[in-house]
Amino acid sequence: MKMFELDQQIAEQLTQVSLGSSIQVRMSATNSFAVTASTMIPLMQMFEMGGVYISASRGAVEIIQAFESIGVDVSGIQFLDLVSSGVLGGTDVPYSNITFVDSPIMLESILLRTLYTLRTVSSARNFVFLDSVNALAIYNDDRMLAEYLHTFINTFRQREVLSVMLNVPDQTPPLVLANLDTYCTDLIDRGQVVLL
């Protein structure tokens, strides 16, 4: 098992948020898993939350195995994998907590599948992790993605589900970034913005 040191400042910051909060988590290309784990582990272990993890950056199996490698059991979290359907044979996986969506461009389907999954989970308090905004930006038009995030944030806020949007800011279009800044209630900043 790999050694993993939790970012305590993130855990501390998470004590300030409520179920209706929307958190933008800024990370860099090199620290993405450390920041993701430091955000998700306290929510699962300290606050006993469950929920949905939407993986657009990597296949869900890779993410699950990364958590397993540091000794964290994520079998109670439901994964929505937007990547593996695009890879031949990618959906033949040994985990029952993964659902596949055909493509990261099916934004409405992603939201509907997430809402459906939330209706099936047993945990009383839930989060939705979106990993990541910059990965969705590869496939989707800026205006559409900005509109989607606005809908996404408000949908879960209304349902008292904590939304966490992971983001590498220097890989995210300005319009989308501006929207996140405007509509998210909290910011966890572990990213590096490259000014051109």
Binding site: D102, S103, I105, M106, L107, E108, S109, L111, L112, R113, L115, Y116, R119, T120, Y139, D141, R143, M144, E147, Y148, T151, T155
Partner: protein, 248 residues
Amino acid sequence: MTGIHGLDEILRGGIPYGSTVLAAGTCGSGKTTLGMEFLVRGALAGEACAHFTATEPSVKLLENIRQYAFFDMNMVDSGLINVFDMDVLYSWLGLEKASFDLDDVHALIKSIVDIVNTIGVTRLVIDSVTTLCYKIKSEQLIRDFLFTLGKKLATLGCTTILISEITSATENAHWSSFGVEEAIADGIIVMGDSERMGHLLRFLQVVKMRGTSHSRAKHAIELTPLGVMLIPMLKWGASADKTSRWGQ
């Protein structure tokens, strides 16, 4: 209230009691599932429901619908949901023929109304009215058939969903295959696919629903084991999507 998650919200309350609603859609758009969920939600509220299937045998219909967690076969076994094969009905009525005349149409209406009346059906689905109307050669006769059927069912307090099949070939006919179905309907729900970068996204849109101040926006739908789920389609997405199959 239809009891269908999201649809009642779009309709601002549901389908008015006794209405005849045309659910028009392309193949695979979710018409049959929507129709069956409409019956299941009614059955869960203790209503007597009936489904007339003309497109596939009832055994196959039930086999397909069993995959959905919202459906419980006990509803059929206990008589809350009654499924009728149109082919069997034709056989009973001696209507095993290629086309129907006026007398045949009246006999068919009478038998459907008798069944509804006898069982006390308050929710009815005919799947599909297109297949049924293929046997009626005159446009006027189709109009009379649907108008009379709708009127009689409304008198009995039965809310009806007429499922209509539309294809890209029927774009000029708008929301029905024969161009007359929409004229007699109190409501029209259109279902189809929008193509976005090679992927098909199911949508539902309420075009008309008398007696309601319904939303007319296009909604994305997902057929989940818990039933149909809907959210408004992204506005920028809709502008980027290719023209949907039912024609705009």
